[in-house]
């Protein structure tokens, strides 16, 4: 027993050391987005107030994440390194949260840790070139608190996540459905109050200081065209390669987009498609949750329920990503801390699908992004494959049999003709 404990701590230390080496020495620091973060941080350092004195397209907590490395160093090169350190710390926090959740799910901690490490490494340097690992880990923290039965804490953390990046909002209906089904509306009210209060505390000052600009920071994305890496754009490019529609990559104001007669209708429909897809996920979750009605009174959730909530949370986030008219490469980071917790019969297949999708994301950006913009077929096909894999992952997540059907290996062997 003592040896096992030392082995586990040793493994954990090794993984943390590996992360340190990779984050600091292997991943390339810097990039254009870091330049933007540095600009915001330096303006804040000079006393300018965001939303009031300068417009910014990020929520308030994101600005805090940009500002923290600036406290350590004011020069750009040092800022890049400090930002990488910050992302590494978020990554390490993610490791501990994954371990905690793995224990609740009764899955092997070592294997979950290995999957998490592989997932982060597969995505590559973008892990330290964007801040998206931070909201991903915050979202995981919200899920961790929720699965431990600390609902108010979970809603507070979720609100912080929402004020970091918009996407954690997709988890709110899942939390809502579960708590409502389990304990009724009356006991849901304190959680909602905690959520709204946190939002008010964070967003209130920003709204007061720069109302129009603050709202604009959330609304700016809605006016974008079909971004080149989105599912819709890849579909148009595929149809173009078959001679069925006309579509071509173009340089847009914020990113590479796709130009096509169908681009505008698809961009306008994207929100509706996303809404319908998310609604389907929530309905499926509601139907599955109704089976847990007997848990009223228990604080922590069972492993089975935890597994279901994790899987559907992942599905909701993945739907948000794939149905969006923008699919920036860093969005794949949002699934990173969750994927090691994917449980059920096909969990290894799910891991493999995600890691392959992460590798293809890295292949498309930054490796061959200019080739994609030039319309090179192999890169375009890699993008199509990546998007198809994310769709496949969503299907696996929502159709995945429960943990009670888990085989010992997670993948069926080639049985004999006699079996």
């Amino acid at each position: 027993m003592l040896n096992t404990r030392y082995l586990k701590w040793g493994l954990l230390a090794l993984v943390c050391l590996l992360n340190l080496v990779v984050y600091m020495s292997v991943f390339q620091h810097g990039g254009s987005d870091i330049g933007l973060y540095y600009k915001y941080a330096s303006w804040m350092g000079e006393g300018f107030i965001p939303y009031r004195d300068f417009s910014v397209e990020y929520p308030p907590i994101a600005l805090l994440i940009f500002y923290l490395p600036y406290l350590a160093t004011h020069d750009f090169s040092g800022y890049c390194t400090a930002f990488a350190v910050e992302m590494m710390l978020f990554g390490m926090a993610g490791i501990f949260l994954v371990l905690g959740m793995a224990r609740r799910l009764r899955v092997s901690s070592g294997v979950a840790l290995l999957c998490y490490t592989l997932a982060v490494f597969a995505i590559g340097s973008i892990t330290v070139q964007r801040f998206d690992l931070a909201p991903a880990v915050i979202t995981l923290a919200a899920l961790y608190a929720f699965c431990r039965g600390k609902f108010e804490v979970a809603w507070v953390v979720l609100a912080i996540g929402l004020m970091t990046k918009l996407y954690p909002a997709v988890l709110a209906p899942l939390f809502l459905i579960y708590q409502w089904q389990r304990d009724g509306v009356r006991r849901l009210l304190p959680s909602l109050a905690a959520f709204l209060l946190t939002l008010v505390l964070i967003a209130g000052p920003a709204l007061w200081l720069g109302k129009g600009e603050f709202i604009h920071s959330f609304a700016v994305q809605s006016g974008r065209s079909l971004q080149l890496e989105s599912l819709y754009a890849s579909l148009l490019l595929l149809l173009n390669s078959l001679g069925l529609v006309s579509a071509a990559p173009v340089q847009g104001p914020m990113s590479f987009d796709v130009s096509s007669p169908l681009a505008e209708p698809l961009a306008q429909s994207a929100f509706i498609i996303m809404g319908l897809a998310l609604f389907s996920v929530y309905v499926l979750f509601l139907r599955r949750t109704r089976r847990d009605l007997g848990l009223s009174g228990q604080s922590a959730l069972s492993a089975e329920t935890t597994s279901r909530i994790i899987n559907f949370s992942m599905a909701a986030v993945a739907v948000f990503i794939i149905a969006n008219k923008v699919f920036s490469p860093q969005f794949i980071l949002w699934l990173c801390p969750l994927i090691p917790l994917f449980s059920g019969r096909w969990y290894k297949v799910g891991w493999a699908i995600f890691i392959l999708a992460a590798c293809l994301t890295w292949y498309v950006y930054p490796m061959y992004y200019l080739g994609l913009a030039d319309g090179q077929q192999v890169v375009m096909n890699a993008l199509i494959l990546r998007n198809v894999l994310v769709l496949l992952l969503i299907l696996l997540l929502v159709l995945n049999p429960s943990r009670s059907a888990v085989s010992s290996a997670g993948m069926p062997a080639l049985a004999t003709a006699d079996d």
């Binding site: 490796m367 890699a382 069926p412 062997a413």
Partner: protein, 458 residues
Amino acid sequence: MSHYTKMAAYIMSETGRNWCCRGFVALGLVLALVLMLVIPQHMKENSDWSLQYAVQNFADGQFVLDRDTFYLQSGEAQASGASLDQYTQIDNQNYAYTEAPGYIFYLLPFHYVHAHALANVLLAAGAAAVVYLLLRRIRDERTACVGALLWIFSPVALAMLQRAYADTFAAAAFLGIGGGLYIYYCLRRGELSLMAAYGLLFLAGLGLGWSVFANYANTWAVGAFLAHFIYLQTKARLEGRKKEIVFSALCFCLGMLLPLAGLLMYQNAVFGAPLRFGFQYTGLPVGFSWQYIQANIRQTTVAWLIGYPLLIPGLAALVWALYHRTHKNVFGTDLLLLLAGWVAAVFGLYLMYELTASSDIAGMPFIVLARYALPGLMPLTLLSALWLEQLSQRALRGITAALLVWGVIFFAQSALAYPEVPINPLNPWRNITQSQQDSLLLDSARSIYVTSGGVIDA
């Protein structure tokens, strides 16, 4: 009982279901043929042009071209924006076809009846039949049906099936037929009559030998089969079955040596020595070396994932089966290692391929990068089909349908891809004009051969 009720009862019976499975495979072949006819083929590489001219030359009895004839034919091809870069100079006056001639000799009878497309269709039917036979023996007809359809509708298989003037499909089909029959023999060794067993071995050897006759690079994969055969013979020797060793070795080697003898005779006639071959003269970047692995991992693996969607599940199933070798499995460790060797001998070999590692080829359509590994598709198909069969009916149907649709879409993409002519450093006419590219699109279905007697349409 009404007629319809009787029919429904028959279809629901095991015999009826089996015939339905066979019908689906036949339908699949017909659909593949229809797709080949309906979707026009724009993609035509230099190697296709070279083979097209080589077929005509071989039909005229000209294995070696004199300089004047080669320049005439080369100029004609260049006018269409192509280059006969698979013809190489072997001495001051003469040019010869670089690649292995096995497919050309196979294609000749079809050339005489002006039915080139049927050559590959026949091979497709043969290979699909072998996949069906093998999977039916291992599992059941439903798995056999799935496996055969997945093999036919792999994007690269469909694309190369359509290209009658590319030897890739033939190389893969001969290897698949020979290799599949060999594995079938190994699985049924104890059940077959002596004549049937020896006949099977002969045909397996013939298929394997002809696969080398069609593509030199298949030598490594055939080597894996030879190694396994030696293992079987050694095992039989240790078990005291001497008579079996002699006759089985005789049949297998005879089958293999017939086409190889033809190859050696051809090489002796063309290059002056049996062991001399075209690639020893060419200046094209067609070597194999460890130094190209990194570039190929970057450039080619994604093309493989598109062209061979069974690559990942097939490899995963192979690794899984090897890992659980202490458990019962359908192949036995020796056959699993043979399958692993087959995959490694093709995919591993082409990870070291100089041409696909070249930066000149980086922006090409995926089929240009992926087609070479087609001979390694069959073991992946067998293993994937056995793994997929474990799923529920609904999941199996959904995944199979999705893979078939994937195959058709990316076949269409490769067929309609703009015919980029790979840059040939030896070709002074590298930069073809837009009008030449347009005429290439229009003229891809037509070919003209210039002989000393004038211009003829082929």
